[in-house]
């Protein structure tokens, strides 16, 4: 394990500065930085609630199909039932969540991640 280098130019917690720490210390420094905290929270605040939401929606659909059989067999338009509509909506939400996440990651995550990565370049 490398000992932390003294960093004259940067202060811990600001990898945006030209910090000279290397190796493990550099990772520790980045992990503690405000920038990385922002990246992590932007990711988690988006991915975790959305993950919970789609799992709840999926299991609600499974449970309705299992225990609310008559309700799911209700014909709405011609022979199309509530079960089929909810089932097709599962496809729609899956595509929708994929699109939302990609947009979020491209716009809000990638720029910070790239900055942190560039900053670490040559130090690890």
């Amino acid at each position: 394990m490398s000992t932390p280098e003294p960093h004259e130019f940067g202060t811990p917690g600001s990898p945006g500065s030209t910090s000279q720490t290397t190796g493990a210390a550099a990772f520790r420094e980045v992990q503690d930085s405000a920038e990385f905290a922002e990246l992590r929270s932007r990711f988690r605040r988006f991915a975790f609630p959305l993950g919970a939401a789609f799992l709840i929606w999926y299991f609600a659909y499974v449970l309705l199909s299992t225990y609310a059989v008559d309700f799911m067999t209700t014909r709405v338009i011609g022979n199309i039932t509530i079960g089929v509509i909810l089932g097709l909506l599962q496809f729609v939400t899956t595509f929708g969540i994929t699109w939302l996440y990609i947009r979020h990651a491209n716009k809000n995550l990638d720029p910070i991640a790239a900055k942190v990565r560039d900053d670490l370049e040559g130090r690890i």
Binding site: F27, F54, T73, N79, I80, E121
Partner: protein, 551 residues
């Protein structure tokens, strides 16, 4: 009636059984596929299969779109195509539940697993799980569950190959089925040894295009017959089903699973949480250079896989309407024959039907080949990289030697798959696949999520979680109605089926999560904070990941 148009095979079959199309046409198309793919595999892999990164990940040179196609090719197995269409054709709505579980599962991979995995690991699932843990115990556990999942999945595909041949070639002879399993195994070894991950990826890409295209054409054809009116399709399918058996409603849920509702919920858990823990799926994320490409891969895969499962829905009701349950039940392979039978019926049987069926049959064979090749490469990488190098050689093995071991492992796995496939050929394919998903969801996913998102998680937690999930999943399966007690069981005459569900995930997934937590809090291990920092920063940003590839 359709009966006079069917060819009644005079030999090898009981008089009631019918044969679809022309076996020689099916064999010819299959042979063309094998020759074309082998040629491509040889061409793309020239010069580059000696280095570990070439063999395991194709040098991480694929882009997101290519990898997305390959993921779809790896994931859409014969069980998806034949099994789901058949389930919908015979029991209606319940088949849709399968399709949705298989698709929604990709959101777990997209949101939580694909990108951090790409950023942290190099070749195998164990790279990520052992990153900040003690290497040997965690790698050993991860490799054990990787090998278990891959082996069950491989058995399912091999058994599927045997079943498919009896269906498409109209052969009931056990010897012919064995021969086909041997051929599939030998081709699998050839693809992987000649092409490594690069060749395998190309086979999967070609197969994905053929399968989605083939299913898409059939779907449009069915829809055109009802003027693109989904309601009429359901109506026609239901009328046909009610003619065969009064009171049937193909739109009503639980036609298939009604007698075992908890078992069905358990299956749903395995499907939605298993995908992101399947080692051969995880390994595909290493074939792209960056996390952004891994993300693109998953979005392409979700698009293709979603489209395909929407097609299966139309195809299933189409088969119920155009072929009809009574006819499907007289075909060899029964429910599994619904999709090929639909291909034969759509152009009005005769010559057109024979040709279209042969094409679809060729695609179904291709499906099996692409999936088994992906499984073989994953299992061999895990053995050589995790067990041979990290556990036996303490991580100091010569990379060239490691690849040599991986290549030898492919041959061993091929032989095991052939022997196992022959032994398992009468087993229920869907059961073997759901077993693989249940083990992946119980043994792999908990420790993947904990290692990526829980700082305190440590070696003991990881080991308990993996072995606990693995043992509880396999143990409960052994005591389930899938193995004994039921008429469809592996041992119908024995009775040790005290666990009532035929899928263990409802119990074994919580066991995996619980043991991961318990093992962690009961351990006195001091966490390696440096490694933890490195892992978290790498997983979120990709810093240092390129270095790992160029290694």
């Amino acid at each position: 009636m359709v009966a006079p148009l069917l060819q009644i095979a005079p030999l090898l079959q009981s008089p009631l059984e019918v044969k679809l199309g022309n076996p020689w046409a099916n064999i010819a198309i299959f042979a063309v596929f094998v020759v074309v793919t082998l040629t491509i595999v040889i061409r793309v892999s020239q010069g580059g299969r000696k280095k570990a990164s070439d063999f395991y990940t194709g040098g991480a040179q694929f882009d997101g779109r290519q990898n997305g196609l390959a993921i779809a090719g790896d994931y859409l197995s014969a069980a998806s195509f034949l099994g789901i269409v058949g389930a919908i054709a015979l029991s209606g709505y319940d088949g849709l539940l399968y399709s949705i579980g298989f698709l929604v599962a990709w959101l777990v991979a997209l949101l939580l697993v694909a990108e951090p995995l790409r950023n942290t690991g190099k070749y195998t699932m164990a790279d990520v799980l052992s990153f900040r843990m003690r290497q040997r115990p965690v790698r050993m556990a991860a490799a054990t569950s990787t090998l278990a999942v891959s082996f069950f999945y491989l058995l399912a595909q091999m058994a599927g190959a045997g079943a498919l041949v009896s269906l498409l070639l109209g052969v009931k002879s056990s010897l012919m089925q064995d021969l086909v399993i041997v051929i599939v195994g030998a081709l699998m070894i050839a693809y992987v040894l000649i092409g490594g991950m690069k060749g395998t990826t190309w086979v999967q890409m070609i197969k994905a295009i053929l399968l989605v295209l083939g299913a898409g054409i059939m779907t449009l054809w069915v829809l055109a017959k009802v003027g693109f009116n989904l309601s009429s399709l359901f109506g026609n399918a239901n009328t046909a089903a009610q003619e065969a058996k009064a009171g049937t409603d193909l739109m009503r849920p639980m036609g298939k699973y009604g007698s075992n509702k908890l078992g069905f919920i358990s299956l749903s858990i395995a499907l939605v949480l298993g995908t992101a823990g399947l080692p051969h799926v995880l390994m595909r994320f290493y074939t792209v250079p960056t996390a952004k490409e891994a993300r693109r891969s998953v979005s392409w895969a979700i698009g293709l896989i979603g489209a395909f499962y929407l097609f299966t829905f139309v195809l299933g009701y189409g088969a119920a309407w155009l072929v009809g349950a009574p006819t499907i039940n007289t075909l060899p392979g029964k429910a599994n024959a619904a999709a090929p039978a639909l291909a034969y019926w759509l152009p009005g049987q005769g010559i057109g039907g024979t040709i279209f069926l042969a094409v679809i049959a060729g695609v179904a064979f291709a499906t099996i080949l692409a999936v088994v090749a992906g499984l073989a490469i994953t299992a061999s990488a895990s053995f050589a990289h995790d067990i041979y190098n990290a556990v036996m050689k303490d991580g100091k093995a010569d990379p060239a030697q490691e690849v040599k071991i991986a290549r030898m492992t492919v041959i061993v796995i091929g032989i095991l798959a052939i022997v196992g496939g022959i032994a398992a050929k009468s087993q229920n394919i869907a059961f073997l696949v759901s077993l693989a998903f249940a083990v992946a969801a119980s043994a792999n996913l908990p420790s993947i999520l904990y290692s990526l998102y829980w700082k305190r998680f440590n070696t003991q937690g990881s080991v308990w979680s993996i072995y606990g999930g693995l043992i509880s999943a396999i143990g409960l399966i052994i005591f389930s109605p899938a193995v004994s007690g039921a008429p469809t069981a592996m041992f119908p005459n024995a009775n040790f089926d005290w666990f009532p569900l035929d899928n263990p995930a409802l119990v074994s997934v919580p066991v995996g999560f619980l043991l991961g937590w318990l093992g962690t809090v009961l351990s006195k291990e001091t966490p390696d904070l440096d490694k933890a920092a490195e892992m978290e920063v790498r997983s979120m940003t990709g810093a240092g990941a390129e270095g790992a590839i160029a290694h």
